[in-house]
């Protein structure tokens, strides 16, 4: 072969067509990456498909009614919404403090408040019992002085869910506050706005998209909460038995009901994901 000879026209055209296609399609995955990737997809999607395939589609409604799904679902929605509200009321101020002030030990504090993200929920439940239980460090005084008992009550469910879900809200809102334009707050100050009024009229509206995203994420986490709830609040139908607990219980004696209840939770999760796709995922990609 001499290098002076041009390649045959047809071969050249084929080569250029292939390289163009490769450019358009991006990199072609080498098989050591492609095969595990495909397995991962199957691993994630097959169980969900199994759920859909084995669902008692014929008498779905019937099964749900018999399993007292409405009761569990209502309790789940109520508790998760209350937990989300509590997370917003407590989490947004904490996010502001973490984002806008500097003090010693701030990084440590940031790590600690996000610990429930990685902590096994059961551990969280045990910890809550030790502090807020009837003979807990704080719980005994709540009981003696105010007659308030949290474990094994609906309020206890809200406490357990808030404990597990609040870090999602804090880290989302803190990120938004960090990247928000402080120039606008400065402008508000020169216009005579006091710090809290500036927070309410300028900062909060600016971070609303992230607050919504963080709130939805927080709510989804609260809705699916199992470990901390069953440990701290127990499993009393109508009082503390939320959907995930109902699914777990139903699985032992009525698999059809467990599948039907799971389907309802799956539907809710898919709806949340669709809601989040625009806001959360996109803002994550740009950070």
């Amino acid at each position: 072969m001499t290098s002076t000879l041009p390649p045959a026209p047809s071969a050249a055209r084929r080569a250029s067509a292939r390289s163009r296609r490769a450019v358009e399609a991006g990199n072609r995955a080498p098989w050591p990456l492609a095969v595990p990737a495909v397995i991962a997809v199957a691993f994630l999607l097959l169980p969900l498909m199994g759920l859909l395939l084995r669902a008692p589609w014929g008498n779905l409604l019937n099964v749900l009614v018999q399993a007292d799904a409405a009761q569990a679902l209502r309790l789940s929605l109520e508790c998760s919404i209350l937990a989300t509200l509590a997370s917003v009321v407590l989490g947004v101020p904490l996010a502001w403090v973490l984002a806008r002030t500097t003090f010693r030990g701030q990084n440590l504090l940031r790590a600690l408040v996000t610990l429930p993200l990685v902590l096994p929920p059961v551990v969280g439940g045990v910890a809550l019992l030790l502090v807020l239980g009837r003979r807990g460090i704080l719980g005994q005084y709540l009981d003696q002085w105010f007659g308030i008992t949290l474990p094994f009550t609906t309020a206890g469910v809200v406490v357990a869910e808030t404990f597990v879900a609040i870090p999602f809200l804090i880290i989302t809102v803190e990120g938004a506050l960090r990247s928000a334009d402080t120039g606008l707050e400065e402008a508000a100050a020169t216009l005579g706005s006091r710090p809290f009024a500036t927070f309410r009229r300028v900062t909060l509206p600016l971070i609303t998209p992230s607050l919504v995203a963080g709130g939805v994420l927080c709510w989804a986490r609260a809705l699916g909460e199992f470990g901390a709830t069953i440990t701290f609040a127990g499993n009393l139908p109508g009082v503390t038995q939320t959907m995930p607990l109902a699914v777990y219980v139903a699985l032992e004696h009525d698999p059809d009901a467990a599948i039907a209840l799971s389907l309802v939770l799956l539907a809710v999760s898919v709806a949340v994901l669709a809601l989040l796709r625009d806001r959360w995922l996109r803002s994550m990609a740009t950070h």
């Binding site: 402008a187 020169t190 216009l191 005579g192 509206p205 600016l206």
Partner: protein, 414 residues
């Protein structure tokens, strides 16, 4: 046509726009909610010293009510720092800021009034309009910040919307505004806070050239209707000349010159200002007091008029005194050969190092003793076949050469 006469807009008497206050009235009619609530406009007196790492800013300012002081200087001169100290966004290291009888900042006396309590309107370079609020609510923001209810604040914002021609845009969000419109909203919002002092940071820098032209004229009009002291920061000489009652030139954190715009443009104190206003500027010393000969530091001599050609002021001190010499590029004539002895007292030779086409003329850079920028017509460039490397002769009448004392490090106050 029976001989119509044209008059420029500038000579037309300005009719006050709707909502514009009549003479003697302070601010727009605000629905009678706040009758004479603010103290009368006051003088700004500031001695500013700020140390930030290696950089030190030192400037003395005095701006009277209704007066516009333009702070002109290159990037990094400390202009924005100066503005932030006056607005209360940055504390002084040393010095004192007073507005009328109020002390805003006095580190020695332990006084610092924060931004929100200074009654000081700041128009930011990037406007900083609140993106989630309509134009109306942006302008109403400072009124609301002072405790008014939403309806009341919107009502009180109306005169400012009218005054700056924003009524039709009142429902829009800032993202739907052009640069010029956003600038007007920012100004309306600052004015609606009823400031005692108005600060504008590079007000035209974010605009394109065409918009800048019309907004500049507009801005001048709005600044004249403001009855407190205004301070405009810019690095644009034209902006300074159009807007200013007085110009203060800041370089490297120091005031190098202060004076009326016309005088600053005619007698620049530094190379920076000379370049901005397009003048040849030389430093030298007065060689002979009777002939007004100045020996230039860069080599060569120039003969100057004994007085300022514009205002007749006698400005020649004793022989040996340090001098600045300014010559406009149009006042210098260029010849391909040595000219016959004519009337110009200054005549020297040099070599062309560059040609640059300005809009309607060509600026020729000539290296010699002294080097000079010379403006000629494009036709002359063709006729004389001017090109780099060519040897040419330059002449300038002494009456076109302005000489004035070099302050030599201290501010030139004229």
């Amino acid at each position: 046509m029976d001989g119509p006469t044209f008059r420029g807009d500038a000579s037309e008497p300005r009719s006050p726009g709707p909502g514009q206050p009549a003479a003697g009235e302070v601010g727009p009619v605000s629905g009678g909610i706040e009758p004479g609530g603010r103290p009368p406009p006051a003088q700004l007196d500031a001695r500013v010293a700020v140390q930030r790492g290696e950089f030190r800013l030192e400037a003395d300012l005095h701006v009277g009510p209704g007066q516009v002081l333009v702070v002109l200087g290159p990037n990094g001169a400390g202009k924005s720092t100066l503005l932030r100290t006056l607005a209360g966004l940055l504390a002084l290291t040393d010095g004192r800021i007073e507005a009328g009888t109020d002390v805003w900042d006095d580190p020695a006396g332990g006084i610092f009034v924060p931004a929100g309590e200074r009654d000081c309107g700041l128009v930011f370079q990037d406007y900083r309009l609140f993106p989630h609020l309509s134009v109306r609510d942006n302008v109403a923001f400072p009124i609301r910040a002072r405790g008014a209810r939403r309806r009341e604040a919107r009502h009180d914002a109306q005169p400012w919307l009218d005054r700056l021609g924003l009524d039709e845009l009142a429902g829009r969000k800032p993202a739907q505004l052009s640069g010029g419109q956003a600038q007007r909203v920012a100004l309306a919002r600052a004015l609606a806070s009823k400031p005692r002092l108005l600060l504008l940071d590079e007000p035209l820098a974010a605009l394109d050239a065409k918009t800048r032209l019309e907004v500049r004229t507009d801005l001048r009009r709005h600044l004249t209707t403001f009855d407190g002291p205004s301070l405009v920061v810019t690095h644009d000489a034209l902006e300074a000349l159009v807007l200013a009652d007085r110009v203060l030139v800041l370089e490297g954190g120091r005031v190098v010159q202060e004076g009326p715009p016309a005088t600053v443009a005619r007698r620049p104190a530094t190379e920076y200002v000379a370049r901005l206003v397009g003048l040849n500027l030389y430093t030298g010393s007065l060689g002979d007091r009777t002939t007004h000969r100045i020996d230039l530091d860069s080599g060569g001599t120039l003969y100057a008029a004994g007085h300022d050609p514009a205002d007749g002021a006698v400005i020649l001190p004793l022989a040996g005194a340090r001098m600045l010499v300014a010559v406009t590029p149009t006042a210098i004539s260029l010849f391909p050969q040595e000219p016959d002895h004519g009337s110009p007292r200054n005549s020297w030779s040099g070599e062309i190092t560059g040609l640059e086409l300005l809009t309607d003329r060509v600026r020729v850079a000539v290296e010699g003793y002294p080097s000079a920028m010379v403006d000629v017509t494009p036709a002359a460039v063709a006729d004389l076949d001017l090109h780099p490397g060519q040897q040419v002769w330059l002449t300038a009448k002494a009456t076109e050469v302005t000489a004035y004392p070099d302050p030599g490090g201290t501010p030139l106050v004229i």
